[in-house]
Amino acid sequence: MTTEQFASFSDNAVMFAGIVYVLATLGHVVEWAATLARPAAVRSAVETAVPVGAGAPAAASSTASPEDDQRSVRIETAGRIGVALTVVGTLLLAAGVVARSFASDPWRVPWGNMYEFTLTGALGVAAIYLALLPRMRLRWMGLFVTTFLVVVLMLANLTLEQEAGPLVPALHSYWLVIHVGAAILATGAFAVGALTAGVFLLKAGVERRGSTRLHGLLEMFPSSDALDRLSYRLHAVGFPLWTFAALIAGPIWAEYAWGSYWNWDPKEVWAFITWVIYAAYLHARATAGWKGKAAAIIALIGFATLLFNFVGINFFFGASSQHSYA
């Protein structure tokens, strides 16, 4: 295949991945709608029988009527379809990302500009979600993740799309693979972590206040303790990766390419801010009065700085940042 064929294959694969993700989102919407429509009594019965996320196998509640059984089947089927479609979409996206590597001569890692970072980042989020799904029972996350992926792919296509081409000379270094690869992985972990922290805040709020209209929906989610633990573990994976990407690999490359390992470039400053905030999150989890809600809010702020660094810096400081490879 020629580079042009790879390029158009990549564009098509990404487009189809987007479409499949839309369908996956629909599957999860049906799952949620059916869950919401479930009468409250059955909900709580199922809730006691199947503590979500606790590792107990799903078992039909003995108190459920045939109608409820049918509804449970419908919820289960819709959810499974959503996950299956997410797998298909992710395979397509992976094919698109790989093809993008071969769309320039010589082949290269598929992260030379914002469009490619975004694709790879989305792939990272999808891969982390799918990898943890069976062990950590993450299906409650399905609607969020697929919606997120659809939005990100759309934005990437509409605002960031760039034709494939060779790397600019500043990126001719194997540190590109190490530095950007680690940063993308860390971003994926932080993204899923932020999602968990956000749901934790919702769920913890409801648990504190008692029933609300959202109650039925929130029963889909694991307990706030389980969410807090999961969120911590994701951040605990993301933080060392980020430390490596931003504070070790980045400075080594900067020293090599720009003659100074720390330049207070806007992107570096914001990477540092993100690091400090996630460090604050880890400390907050160990501090009386900050555990739980405050810590989760700090984690969300951390993710906001990460997003701003990724998107905002290139748009606002494009000219002055040494990282403006968009």
Partner: protein, 539 residues
């Protein structure tokens, strides 16, 4: 100031009673070193870093700072008072991280003491009722109690528990490295800062624009910008010199990314110490020239059109190449020509160099390609006083036209000198003429030396190692009790996770029980082998 789930003795802020000065001091120290303060300082540090990414920094982009000050003369004085142009060495930024450091040290020292004591302390004895612990199982064993206990010891040690012996029971604890990692991380942060500070104080960084064909010798006067560390002595600059022999840039000539650079590099001939044999080096973006005590980096390139200027008396008043600064990716470049020696009046020009000149009515003149395929300049011309004699330092890239008058055409329109190489344009009123002779390329080189790199790198790598230990090592306690009942031996095993994110505790307890009882992994669980009151009676 530590990344664990359970901060020891994390007491809230104590209510200050009527304080003696000593107590007040102790109270202040407690406050400063509390986790809460560390947390707030961390958030404050993040907040304080923001302005430096918004306002140009004089250490990073001195040209931008000058431009910013020109554009906002009123704000500039306020900003200067607040150190907003040098946020990262400002007193208020330093205050935050110094407080953070003090808080860090104040946390590390007592925690190290606690940790060292914990290392010497045996794991706590088995609680009376093991069944109340989060993970618990009991199995029967066919062997004598001593044999079983001995096997339990081996099993616990095999799983890297530290074991202490009680009365018919064993206590095990593992995961001591978690706190060690935690302490290592925090000590390493200090090491990194020491290395960083050392580099800032004793290093230097300079930038110079060198025309292709010209030389550079490493002394202060040769730099366009130079940022020495506080304790750096310019006499210590290594006596390196080099010539930029050639510069090649290659751009994509087709496809959607047309004009994107593919490769660029400069050929240098350098002499490391005077008298050495000259050596060649091909300098590229990711291939710096690394010498003893300094490194040379290629950080940019551009065009320098060559001009000849005649003044009103008909003499050649200027001849040479003038670096123009690229304004966009097509290398349309802005620059200034100052002819101080022109008679009867000084002459000045400013305008653009277009490497591949093109013109449309909508856009006016522009460059379609970054390579010099069809070079041209378009300059405005001024006559009068350049203001250089006034003594105020001027940028070579700015023309001070306060005391100058712009040349105009007879019909009152702006006079423009639009020239392709070789073309000569005569200025109105017989005040002179200018010719574009050709063009050269220039390279922007950064020369720097950062001592303490090794310290900082070692620190940050150790910090990562420590961090992983403090996040991923799990602290766990396990207890084994062997009970004889009716001539049979029963083993109770219980476990407790001391980190919240622990998992697999149940599995571990089951596996331990299976290993200790000497039965196959699928151990039989008998009825409660020792009801609580029986056990009490035994004691």
């Amino acid at each position: 100031m530590a990344v664990t789930e359970k901060a020891p003795a994390a007491a809230g802020p104590p209510q200050p009673p009527a304080l003696s000065p000593r107590e007040l001091l102790r109270w202040a120290w407690r406050q400063l070193t509390s986790m809460r303060t560390a947390l707030l300082l961390l958030l404050l540090l993040a907040l304080a870093s923001i302005p430096g990414s918004v306002v140009p920094q004089s250490d990073v982009a001195p040209v931008d700072v000058a431009r910013w000050k020109q554009d906002h003369p009123d704000l500039a004085t306020v900003y200067e008072k607040l150190d907003l142009f040098s946020v990262y060495d400002s007193p208020w930024f330093s205050a935050i991280y110094l407080l953070l450091m003090v808080s860090l040290v104040g946390c590390i020292l007592p925690r190290t003491a606690v940790y060292l004591r914990a290392l010497r302390t045996a794991p706590p004895p088995a609680p009376r009722n093991l069944g109340r612990l989060p993970a618990y199982t009991s199995v029967e064993s066919g062997d004598a109690p001593d044999v079983v206990l001995e096997r339990a010891r081996t099993a616990l040690r095999g799983r890297r528990y530290r074991v202490s012996t009680g009365d018919g029971s064993l206590s095990g604890e593992r995961g001591y490295l978690r706190e060690a990692g935690n302490l290592l991380f925090h000590v390493s942060v200090i090491v990194v800062l020491v290395g960083f500070a050392y580099g800032q104080l004793f290093g230097y960084k300079g930038g110079a624009i060198v025309l292709v064909g010209n030389g550079f010798s490493n002394s202060l006067t040769q730099y366009d910008e130079f940022a020495p560390g506080t304790f750096f002595d310019p006499d210590d600059l290594p006596p390196v010199s080099f010539t930029v022999d050639d510069f090649e840039a290659e751009f994509l000539t087709e496809g959607p990314q047309q004009g994107q650079p593919v490769d660029f590099g400069a050929d240098l001939t350098y002499v490391e110490t005077p008298g050495d044999e000259p050596q060649d080096y091909h300098l590229e973006v990711n291939q710096p020239l690394l010498l003893d005590g300094m490194s040379v980096f290629l950080v940019g390139h551009g065009y320098a059109p060559e001009f000849t200027v005649w003044d009103g008396t008909g003499d050649v008043a200027y001849r040479g190449a003038v670096p123009f600064l690229p304004q966009d990716s097509s290398f349309a470049s802005f620059g200034v020509v100052k002819v101080t020696g022109a008679q009867p009046e000084q002459l000045g020009f400013d305008g653009m160099f277009y490497p591949t000149y093109s013109f449309t009515m909508e856009r006016g003149p522009f460059s379609v390609f970054p390579d010099a395929l069809n070079p041209a300049v378009s300059l405005l011309a001024y006559h009068g006083d350049l203001g250089i004699d006034a003594g105020e330092p001027q940028s070579v890239y700015d023309l001070d036209t306060d005391a100058m008058e712009r040349f105009e055409k007879d019909d009152g329109g702006m006079f423009r000198a639009d020239m392709a190489p070789g073309k000569k344009v005569t200025l109105p009123d017989d005040l002179g003429a200018i010719r574009l002779d050709g063009w050269k390329r220039w390279v922007k080189l950064q020369v720097s030396h950062t001592p303490g790199k090794g310290i900082a790198l070692t620190g940050v790598v150790l910090a990562l190692v420590g961090l992983m230990g403090s996040l991923f090592v799990r602290r766990r306690r396990a207890w084994v009790r062997v009970v004889e009942r009716d001539g049979r031996t029963y083993v109770e095993v219980a476990g407790l996770d001391r980190t919240t994110a622990g998992e697999g505790l149940d599995d571990e307890v089951r596996e331990l029980a299976a290993a200790i009882s000497g039965r196959s992994a699928t151990a039989t669980l008998p009825e409660d082998p020792a009801p609580e009151d029986d056990r009490k009676a035994d004691r």
